[in-house]
């Protein structure tokens, strides 16, 4: 794992546990992408940041924590806005989507499909969360196969609210899936969507299908 390179997009509620577990587990190179700064209201759930780091860029704040956890790993940043082609020139092994809106999620998905990079996608809101792995094989569905249109931004945690430890649950599962994909072990959530309802403490796994009319992954 010390040779592997993982891109984490979003260093909020999901990105916090993902980054901390992957750093602690010794993934050799973490690439971080987030353009926001740490705000006091984030700290209820974004546990990679703390009160001494308010106002800092989340990438810098996270780097401090992660490097303290594991000084032997390399940490770098994405400086430009991501586009549908930004992964093609890169040698990233896995992308972890911890972003907070549909528009970004669709761009990340398209970039992963174009570059053939596995994507570990997680999302959480209010009392519910979901995780899926989108592999690079041509038979596999992509994130866009799940949604028939790409309008509507979706709701953010800051507006709709979220149960703080829920992002810990979902982010930790994302970290598990990243390590499985990196090591080529077990059965990742590929072609499956894991759904969690914290209020009723119920889990569900849905079988996913490739959409033959998907504008991203079908020709």
């Amino acid at each position: 794992m010390d040779e592997k390179k993982v891109l984490i997009i979003g260093l909020g509620g999901l990105g916090s546990p993902v980054a901390m577990y992957l750093a602690a587990a010794g993934v050799g190179h973490l690439v971080l992408a987030d353009f926001d700064r740490v705000d006091l209201s984030n700290l209820q759930r974004q546990i990679v940041h703390d009160t001494t780091q308010i106002g800092q860029y989340k990438t810098i704040s996270a780097q401090t924590k992660l490097q303290a956890l594991n000084p032997d790993i390399e940490i770098s940043f994405i400086k430009d806005m991501i586009s549908e082609d930004f992964l093609i020139e890169d040698d990233i092994d896995v992308v972890v989507d911890c972003s907070d809106n549909f528009a970004t999620r669709f761009i990340i998905n398209a970039a992963c499909v174009h570059a053939g990079t596995p994507l570990v996608s997680g999302a959480a809101l209010r009392w519910g969360g979901q995780v899926a792995v989108f592999s690079s094989s041509p038979q596999s569905p992509c994130y866009r196969c799940l949604y028939s249109d790409n309008e509507d931004e979706g709701e953010a945690c800051s507006d709709a609210g979220i149960l703080a430890p829920l992002v810990g649950v979902i982010g930790s599962i994302q970290a598990v899936e990243v390590i499985k994909v990196l090591c080529g072990i077990g059965n990742p959530l590929s072609g499956r969507l894991l759904l969690f309802d914290a209020l009723s403490m119920q889990w569900r796994t849905l079988k996913l299908h490739k959409d033959p009319t998907c504008p991203i992954c079908s020709n």
Partner: protein, 76 residues
């Protein structure tokens, strides 16, 4: 009977976790939503599943099937 299930925040929005629909003929998933939710419009980006498999709103279901609705989740 079609079993209809609502997950996470949809459970609160709809006010119930599960209902049974009596059906005389096959219905699309969108019609199941309409009958179960007093003709409320189908929210955008909602995820739908029939018998634990991802489905779109046009898929037909019949007695004995389970239809589940999951709220859109984008936050991170």
């Amino acid at each position: 009977m079609i079993t209809v299930k609502f997950f996470a925040s949809l459970r609160e929005q709809v006010g119930k976790g599960e209902i049974q629909l009596d059906v005389a003929e096959p219905l699309s998933v969108a019609q199941v939503w309409a009958q179960a939710c007093d003709n409320a419009p189908l929210p955008s980006h909602i995820l739908m599943a029939v018998n634990m498999e991802y489905s779109d709103q046009n898929r037909l279901v019949d007695a004995g099937d389970e239809v589940a609705f999951f709220p859109p989740v984008t936050g991170g």
